[in-house]
Symmetry: C2
């Protein structure tokens, strides 16, 4: 006579589209998962704001908690699944309560991890419980498991990629259909990709949160969201997209983290990447992450960066890892051994740059600009002067009469030099609006 | 006072380039791995053919075994790492001995697993030990961990990709540099990619072994290498590469496994894929695998499919999983529950085909061919008749005077119909040599 092993009892807080998809997944695939694990996964408690809402998944027999913190600490669960979101408030309180009560935690909450990952990891380790967060970065792409487990035999040199599907959707629309930034953003919102307040996406903060987690996993450092340089795509215009296309590039919002001699360079910014590079060809809401390790070389993962079902796939993977008793440290090495994030010296990056200036069409302007560049030892590979369609640079007003678009491509130069030259050019008063400066990434 | 946990003691059999790279990896990254695991990984025994050979890694303090079977069963090891290769002989004997002795096994041996995976899985499960084989498929790409763990919450619909780097190198050389097949193969051999006897690579058997493992992992079936349809690239000529290019395709050796209504379709064959598809753009020795799951959607993994260091990365990942006590079933679900591989009805595939015929230039030949196609309800999207450069179709002699190259692209048609039509066309005597038939994959 065999003894039926006890099920793993989970509580899920947050029943939005992802939470509902997790419930649906565990119902649909429960029998197979039980076969894999030798024990069942049982949802014993849930918590959400609206009890009566129809989520398309029955909640019969599952205890309802109005307060996620109560669910987190309930003796009726072994594992707490946090799908509420947000760095503070109920999500943080519930996760802290769950860890304090010795529950394993699975979360999709990048903001919470990016802000409090170090403290939460310490709390989890103190209780010898798991804290897994695959779904917090790149939706259905198993980038965290890959870095934590598959590439464990590697010193990671660099990790970079497209980490925000909304931005990539907007940039793809601008490139493929000639949409203006505002129109592409409106379409992303209409399709449910962007948040109602899209600033977090297009400003690059969402990608920065994810990059902060990848940086920590890659380099064994404490999560340091405030050390991530962050620029968004809000200033990208069709003029830039078109110029990039002519030059053989695509503009992508990249998150890049790498080790340099002076420390860690971690930044989110729009970049020009070769059209025919693997990253350059990733279009729409798809995410892509390339990881470079000393033994594996380059590994590229491409897949759905968001979406309820894809994100649920990652959440369920974490739940199954917990049920199997797989309890790695949240950030691979013990939290106490994580090093402080030492930032690389700013501006030491050497590379080529794309510069677009709206130059007042008057004598001496071009000579002055060229002089500023030369004085900072920025040499130019190409200069293109043109008068683009009026709407291609809107809404910067740079297309007003008497203003020419000047596109410069530099030879490899130190970032600090180009930034200083541009600052002086802006002060000289020969250009309208801001200078557009975009890195060209060779990758 | 803390008690130092006991190290995990491993024995490595086979010290070729991969074995040496594993040793080098464990030396280089040993301290970090110990930090991750809370215990050290110690190589206590090795076995290889030539004891005196300089492998660039010191073997001091490691016990030497002339017989890998003795190493496998040695009481001084906990985990046996098999890097000998081959479906039978010492590799099989050693792995069986290790499992019988209750040792965990890590192996890179696709042939062994494809032939005896089911029995070995049963043996491992009987002893409650791990049998891990990440390095056996696609070198440094963690496709097995991804299917086994990351996508555990998915029903897998399809898995396909480029599984043999040598073939992809040859096809890339033919496409990019216009090399003849034989010259590209010679270059692959000179660079150490192809085996001295390259038949296993170019005949598709290597890819078929890997696909057999992926099929089993995807669909919960017993490994069935003999059920994998296998065609290689030995008949691909520059005429095909050039025609594909003109039509917007690349020729790739694909491994494809999917569920159909009648069973599992699993096949390795050259295929035309769109130039700008993710798979179409994978060049050189790189491997790429796309997995479609019901929740995750499409996930693509691209990376080094071979090479000592990349393969060692996968071997070390498995070793660390074992050291962590992560012991999943070799084929995800218990071996006893693996279903028999039920093959899909042959020829039921519906799709477009590329057909290249070397047609004798005489009255009625074209009409006869068109008639055979029509009689089998194969309708043609395009017909191109041309006389290619003499060497583009060598060595089929089809370019002899009086022979025209005829390239046909069919509309979607049932595979069985086109195969029957082609057979009759070959029997009619209007063509020289064999007909070249290549599937066009929409992907």
């Amino acid at each position: 006579m065999s003894i039926e092993p006890s099920p793993m009892r989970i509580g899920i807080a947050g029943l939005g589209t992802v939470g509902s998809a997790v419930l649906a997944n565990l119902r649909l695939h429960g029998d197979r998962l039980a076969l894999v694990l030798g024990r069942r996964i049982e949802v014993t408690g849930v918590s959400a704001r609206a009890r009566k809402k129809d989520r398309g998944v029955p909640l019969d027999g599952i205890e309802w908690f109005d307060d996620p913190v109560k669910l987190a600490a309930s003796p009726k669960i072994d594992t707490f699944v946090e799908l509420i979101g947000g760095a503070e408030g109920p999500a943080r309180a519930a996760v802290e309560a769950a860890l304090a009560a010795g529950k394993h935690v699975v979360t999709a909450n990048k903001a919470l991890l990016a802000r409090h990952g170090f403290e939460l990891a310490k709390a989890a380790e103190a209780k010898h419980v798991a804290l897994l967060f695959e779904a917090s970065v790149a939706g259905g792409i198993p980038v965290i498991k890959t870095m934590r487990e598959a590439l464990i035999g590697n010193e990671i040199k660099r990790v970079y990629g497209i980490l925000n599907g909304t931005c990539n959707f907007i940039l793809t629309k601008m490139q493929e259909e000639g949409s203006a930034f505002e129109a592409a953003l409106a379409e992303a919102q209409a399709m449910g990709y962007a948040e109602a307040d899209p600033a977090f996406d297009i400003g690059g903060q969402d990608a920065a949160h994810k990059l902060a987690l990848l940086t920590s996993l890659a380099f064994g450092t404490r999560v340091a969201i405030d050390e991530i340089h962050c620029e968004g795509i809000e200033h990208i215009r069709r003029a830039d997209i078109e110029a990039a296309d002519e030059l053989g590039y695509r503009i992508k919002l990249l998150g890049v983290a790498l080790k340099t001699e002076t420390g860690i360079e971690a930044r989110v910014n729009p970049a020009m990447v070769p059209k025919d590079s693997a990253i350059g060809e990733v279009s729409g809401v798809t995410n892509a992450i390339e990881i470079e390790g000393d033994f594996v070389g380059d590994l590229l993962l491409v897949g759905p960066g968001a979406g309820a079902k894809a994100t649920a796939s990652s959440v369920v993977s974490d739940i199954v890892d917990v049920a199997r008793g797989d309890c790695m440290k949240p950030f691979i090495i013990p939290a106490a051994k994580l090093k402080a994030h030492k930032k690389a010296t700013l501006g030491s990056h050497k590379g080529a740059y794309y510069v677009r200036l709206s130059v007042h069409d008057r004598p001496g302007a071009l000579a002055s600009i060229a002089g500023r560049m030369a004085a900072h030892e920025v040499s130019l590979e190409s200069i293109v002067q043109r008068r683009p369609r009026a709407d291609a640079v809107a809404p910067t007003k740079a297309s007003a009469s008497g203003v020419m678009q000047l596109v410069l491509i530099t030879h490899d130069t130190v970032e600090a030099a180009i930034r200083r030259a541009i600052k002086l050019i802006e002060q000289d008063g020969n250009i309208a609006g801001r200078a557009q400066v975009i890195r060209i990434e060779k990758l």
